[in-house]
Amino acid sequence: MTKEKIDIKIKPLGFLDLLAFKKLVPTRKKKIAAAAAAPFPGNPPVNALAAQLHPEVQHLKVSEVREETENVKTYKLVADTDRGTERLAFFRPGQYLSLEFKINGSTVTRPYSISSSPQEALNGYYEITIKKDDDGYISGYIHEQWSVGSAVTASGPQGHFYYDNLRDSSNLAAIAGGCGVTPFRSMAKSIVEGDLPVKLTIFYGSNKRQDIIFLEEMEQLAASSNGAVRIVHVLAGEEAEGFEHGFITADLLRKYVDVNDCSFFICGPQAMYNYLSNEIAGLKIRNKYIRRELFGEIKQINNTKGYPAGAVAEMYSVKVHTGSQVRVIEADPSESLLVALERAGFCPPSACRSGSCGVCRSLLIKGEHFIPEDVDARREADKKFGFIHPCISYPLGDLEIILPRKKKD
């Protein structure tokens, strides 16, 4: 293309355009000189809104403890104004809090679903409902140590296990096992309060009647929900009038809901997920209609698909660079690297402990490790460059890593 020689004129006379150019800097200086000299807010409105929605930390204290069953307690948590938290962050039913514990020189976290409703957060409290597990280090600690007035350090609300009207069917089928019913209590309450416009059928698997958490309360919620909340109890360990018996099977789901017009929300122990995966696969449901809550750390890593045979052996060593420190620690191959770091007294950042949130993202310098494929939610580039999420990484040899420091307020 032949290039045309141009002589642009914006004003009628060309020299006026050059004059306009010469005035650019003086104009700028005039604008600045004429502006207000007062400092402006360091925390403008949108940043303030962000801080309310996503606080880095919420300082809470226990205001009430209720026994739900023999080994399950509900803790009511309120803002601890003495430690600087004025109000609780709003959330979506189904979200969790990551709680931080300092026990015997270790700093560890645990995610717990919020069992109360968002309205209740506006009224000043969250509730979390915790089952004391036989091998539960933290749940045992909570049951023994927490009482009215205990200080609790929590994250802002986290997670993506919630109803979305643009994605989901407005018919929800919740499948819960044991303490996995907690997010559905939040949803049921929210429905009754008029904030969640869905129909919810909860399939709740328990061993025996006495193990059912929120038995009467959920009946009451269902009764006052105008038909929007329904609960189907499924008992594996006994037969009882008015209760389904056995496991939650595809046939059982079909008996109560139209599986082709339903969004499934599943929350329960690892064993339940494994069992349900087969049942649900048979229903040929699109991915978009199945949500699984994260189930936390993997138990019995050596039984996980893809784990090299006979790898769980002796302890390994991990050289850890963090801040300007370097330290070598021991790691038990049957436990995640995150647990090894916590045991050794580091304060590794963490939240979901299920591979998903990426808060514990660290750089592996060298060493062999195992990451279960189905929980590996790392970014593509992180896989390429050797970043790992220690919460789902299991040492298969000596390791060297760069661990980020935990955020501080």
């Binding site: 502006a35 978009k288 593509e380």
Partner: protein, 519 residues
């Protein structure tokens, strides 16, 4: 504070691992400068990152990088990343410039698919707007001169020959103080051609009556002649590569570490303090943050901020924040009938009215929407696709939103945008949503601490566009040893500007360090 209480000392501290900060740290580390980069988040990139939901890894903010160029005709950004920094990242070519849809323009619907390449662009424009060619040629020639003039200014390192400027680059000088609309009128471009050629306006976030011509010209010409590129593994693909490169070059990075104070003594940087309790002695700081944030929160003591710094900030307008709907769809792009990569959909024709509407919390009247699979076919599993819809908001119109209304509000706006897209393009995406995430100005503010959630820098109106910023760079240095990088720096916003601003800030810092050493 006396120097003795610092626990470490660095030649330079970089605040923030966004595009500007990462490049600054890599450039300094490469030159052997003892450098530490502090990032408050646990990832590199700032907005140039990625996030995963289910089977999808989403691109949070980038639509396309300009001035990148194909390997055989490298643009400045490719030269910077590949040749000077030696980055290990993969890039994909964006297939077309854009598809512009204005459903209700005064002269009827505009629906134009514009190609890259000057000749192809001109031909297509003539097809859509017969008779437009002479004015469009003239416009493109002016844009070319602007780009050439910027190259010359870059080569002359701040000492251009006035004769060369007034001789070879006279049109550059004559247009520098005007708006885009002024130039469209001067070249007498037909109305519909103006609509089509200005489609990229929303990347600058200012209506055509307000945006400076020079900055638009540079962006437009580089897209049309050098095409557009995107990182294959989302922006995290290259920002993680930058992280690796900085470490490889001996630079340090500390995540989860917010710089709380830039300590100033006698008008010069003396050190920084962080949220982790680090006390660092340094004489050079590069801030990948806005002057608004730095002067209002970081400079310590606050009395070290001169009045003129506040005045400079108050005179300028902080650019828009964004609102983005990310969709992971369980159908392929072709099954959905989404054929293009980049869609600009303007529900009302006048860009100035759209600009005004972005200051109100109401149904969005403009969106830039990307279907990632049309540039990266395997960016999501087979039979799925990624679509993200972006509009802009002035942060202030979100100031009265209550947290209890927030989630419903964001899905309401998201739904309006999806409706608008479906209507304009004639497709259904709503029924295929497998994953959805919605980012609002509060999300952007929360994620990086950006001032009022701004994803753009200061608005590039004629008096605050790249040319006057360059000409006053030295006058407006209010704290000795402090440079700015990123979207708020002198090159204005956008990925390519932010990346290059990091290099400039590093080179200025390096030059100063060398001068001190030689004294």
């Amino acid at each position: 504070m006396s120097a003795g209480s610092f626990n470490e000392s660095y030649d330079a501290v970089v605040i923030g691992a966004g595009n500007g900060g990462l490049i600054a740290a890599a450039t300094l580390a490469e030159k052997g400068v003892k450098t530490i980069l502090f990032e408050q988040h646990n990832l590199p990139g700032g907005f140039a990152t990625s996030f995963t939901r289910g089977r999808f890894e989403f691109e949070p903010s980038l639509h396309e990088i300009s001035d990148f160029g194909p390997p055989e005709d490298k643009g400045n950004v490719r030269i910077l990343l590949e040749d000077r920094i030696g980055l290990d990242a993969e890039w994909m070519r964006v297939p077309e410039a854009y598809r512009l849809i204005i459903p209700d323009d005064v002269g009827g619907r505009i629906d134009a698919v514009m190609p890259f390449g000057e000749e192809a662009f001109l031909d297509k424009m003539e097809e859509y707007v017969p008779g437009s060619r002479p004015s469009v040629v003239k416009f493109i020639r002016l844009c070319e001169e602007v780009v050439d003039a910027f190259s010359y200014l870059g080569q002359s390192k701040g000492n251009p020959d006035k004769k060369v400027l007034t001789g070879t680059y006279a049109n550059f000088l004559k247009t520098a103080s005007y708006t885009l609309q002024d130039i469209l009128d001067a070249v007498k471009m037909p109305y519909r051609a103006q609509k089509i050629i200005t489609a990229y306006w929303c990347y600058l976030g200012l209506g055509v009556n307000l945006v400076n011509f020079s900055i638009f010209a540079a962006m437009f010409y580089r897209y049309i002649t050098r095409e557009a590129f995107i990182p294959r593994y989302r922006s995290h693909g290259y920002t993680a590569a930058l992280e690796m490169k900085i470490r490889e070059l001996g630079g340090e990075i500390q995540y989860n570490t917010r710089v709380d104070k830039i300590l100033v003594e006698d008008g010069r940087v003396a050190g920084v303090e962080t949220s982790q309790g680090d006390k660092i002695k340094t004489t050079r700081v590069i801030a990948n943050a806005s002057p608004h944030s730095v002067y209002s929160k970081l400079i310590y003591p606050q009395s070290a901020v001169p009045e003129i710094a506040y005045k400079t900030c108050n005179a300028r307008k902080v650019g828009f924040s964004a609102f983005v709907v990310y969709l992971g769809l369980d159908k392929s792009a072709s099954d959905l009938g989404i054929d293009e990569y980049s869609y600009f959909i303007y529900s009302i024709p006048d860009t100035n009215h759209i600009y005004d509407a972005f200051h109100r919390l109401e149904r969005p009247v403009g969106q830039a929407t990307v279907c990632l699979n049309n540039a990266i076919p395997d960016c999501s599993p087979e039979g799925t696709s990624i679509l993200y819809l972006t509009t802009l908001f002035d942060g202030n119109c979100w100031s009265d939103v209550k947290p209890s209304e927030y989630f419903n509000l964001k899905n309401k706006i998201a739904e309006e945008m999806i409706d608008e897209f479906e209507k304009a393009v004639g497709v259904n995406v709503r029924d295929s949503i497998e994953e959805i995430e919605v980012a609002t100005p509060a999300t952007f503010a929360g994620y990086t601490g950006a001032y009022n959630g701004s994803v753009y820098g200061y608005e590039p109106v004629p008096w605050d566009s790249i040319v006057p910023r360059m000409m006053t760079m030295n006058d407006e240095k209010y704290i000795g040893g402090l440079e700015f990088a990123g979207g708020f720096a002198f090159r204005c916003h956008g990925y390519s500007s932010s990346l290059q601003s990091g290099e400039t800030a590093a080179l200025l810092t390096f030059r100063d360090l060398m001068e001190v050493k030689s004294q």
